[in-house]
Symmetry: C2
Subunit: 143 residues, 2 copies
DNA sequence: TTGACGGATGTTATAATATATCGGTAGCCT
DNA sequence: AGGCTACCGATATATTATAACATCCGTCAA
């Protein structure tokens, strides 16, 4: 399948971590990943961090800066492998994270940067709040 | 003076840290702050983290999520004390950080969130790249 | 006055996140 | 084969952050 093409470049560790992130419905910290791989024997932090970096470089995963956590890249719910900028909406209650890309936001941010002569290389947009489901539950708000 | 009103609520530790951040021309990590206060005797991490949180709550400082670092809030180059959302442009070479607020970006982000029923509470926008000065130096780019 | 309470601050210890550095292994060129 | 390089993994340690508990200080009722 063509969807598997990008993963052909991944080694066993990288594939396992990508699968683990894909199965999770929430962002995983690097140490969550280490725990999730414990049935393959002990894995040391640098191994995981390097694999995560590889996945990020390949556009297969993203790092959430506000959470120190990692998610598989999903574009409209599908795992995707092309490098792109993205924003995230992260629910503070259930942790589920929605990825979005907004051309217009990108354009405006580029404009804001250009006005001061700043050369943008990496853009992080992360919105914390309540997802639609958690917002409808009474105890997520005040209580 | 009205500009001093907000700082009237700060205790000695909080004021010292705010001044330290204001004097720095780059974001400081919490441990940079601890080092910067060493002439006042040893200060423990929780003391600094609590003071930083207070400054953030008062709108006098911001946390840079992509750097694990803190800056005094500047609005157009002036220290300001009103609570507001802000974006940052962080130079990867010199570390200097420009704060910007863009109403339109805020509005678009709100729209992106609302489309999926997400209730936005906190928005982090951080652009990494090269500031105008560093971009003009040849060795900042490729070499 | 005084002592019970509560909030802010300080201290000790430790948790959570991340990386420097070194050694091994496999491809690859000559 | 020998040696070079690039990747890979392990040990150790650095960096960032917080939990848990102690202390101080102001308030207020008796």
């Amino acid at each position: 399948m063509s969807a598997q093409k990008a993963s052909a470049q991944l080694n066993a560790m990288q594939s396992r971590i990508r699968d683990l992130l894909a199965r999770a419905d929430k962002p995983l910290s690097a140490y969550d990943v280490i725990d999730g791989l414990r049935d393959h024997g002990r894995v040391a932090p640098p191994t995981v961090y390097r694999a995560l970096q590889k996945l990020i470089d390949e556009g297969l995963a993203h790092r959430l800066e506000t959470r120190n956590a990692y998610v598989v890249c999903r574009d409209g719910g599908h795992v995707c492998g092309h490098r792109h900028r993205a924003g995230f909406m992260i629910c503070r209650t259930c942790g589920r994270t929605l990825e979005f890309g907004d051309e217009e936001i990108e354009r405006l941010l580029g404009g804001a940067a250009a006005r001061s002569g700043f050369v943008a290389e990496r853009v992080a947009i992360e919105i914390q709040g309540l997802c639609a489901t958690c917002a409808s539950l009474p105890d997520a708000n005040g209580a």
